[in-house]
Subunit: 189 residues, 2 copies
Amino acid sequence: MGIAERKGRERAEREQRITAAARLIAENEGWNAVTIRRLAEEIEYSQPVLYAHFENRDAIVAAVAVQGFGELAAALRQAAYGSAGHQGALESVATAYLAFARAHPALYEAMFTMATGLRFAEADTRPELKDAFAALAEAVGPSRTDVEVATETFWAALHGLADLERSGRIRQGARAARVTLVVNCLVEP
Amino acid sequence: MGIAERKGRERAEREQRITAAARLIAENEGWNAVTIRRLAEEIEYSQPVLYAHFENRDAIVAAVAVQGFGELAAALRQAAYGSAGHQGALESVATAYLAFARAHPALYEAMFTMATGLRFAEADTRPELKDAFAALAEAVGPSRTDVEVATETFWAALHGLADLERSGRIRQGARAARVTLVVNCLVEP
DNA sequence: TTATATAATCTAGCATTGATAACTTTTCAA
DNA sequence: TTGAAAAGTTATCAATGCTAGATTATATAA
């Protein structure tokens, strides 16, 4: 019964082509350019086919966002891996976080300002989301008694910096100084 | 020549009714419910009249956002005023910031995640925006040598906390602990 | 006071979008 | 081989931002 498997593969491949196209268009022309018709044209199927894969447009954005969380987690882990000491790890992770947001603005936008359906800290939280949080927590240091509070605050500071930088509301130049300020607060005494 | 003045008044009043309606609808039903037709119905004029006041829908959102920055600045100043000491002021301001975002989620959304046209630190920056930043800077403390960096970082932390709280990505419960962590970092040594 | 030019406002409509209903073709197991 | 189910398409809907062109109200000059 290899037919079902083949169909499953084809379906998965097509689904991946949809999210890949969405991501590419979004990164090049912004999320407004990501229309159902445009995606249908891109994957060479009619529009209703997209609705056999995703409930609606938002679900496509959410799928891209989940991918993004997976990649962010990997990037943060790699940054932590290639650094020495607690302070060094915090600094590397913080810098990597901001670089990630800057390198993939549309992806970051999907992750944080579009896919409102994605929740953390709930039962149906996707593993990718938990993993990204865990990667941050590792850098903050599991020995702290207030890991969760410290990680949430660290994340908030990084997200705030990324978001205000993206929207041109804080200077691009002083990035390193701001990171230093954040990191110094979180270094264990 | 009181006619021109009367027309000016009527025009200003109508403009204010548009932004007020937009804000009310957004706060009750979300920004998606704020359509040109709906606003036109609300102010009892036909749709094209709105375009005599605002270039497009985004300009209406931006106008609401500017109002929001004015109100945020006032709220932060009042919080700083009714508190004692540097640390007390920082704590009050931080708490007031988060309370503001929580009390007016749609307004905050307009200020930070919708009106992409509003820039800071540029020549055409609206006074309301500068004022909100100044209110934060006052709490951070003008005696610091790195006021601007510290203010930007403070703002980013607060915005990050507000945004992640709003989207349900950090726990609602531990808010006070996170604020304490942020404030402790910024207290002058 | 009345005629006319200008300003103000409205009706009607366009193009685009997300989404779906109904029809047609393909696929595959009995 | 055949017929039902699966897969896919065409055609269309309703809502939206926005605008052109017609129409009405207003203010000024004769």
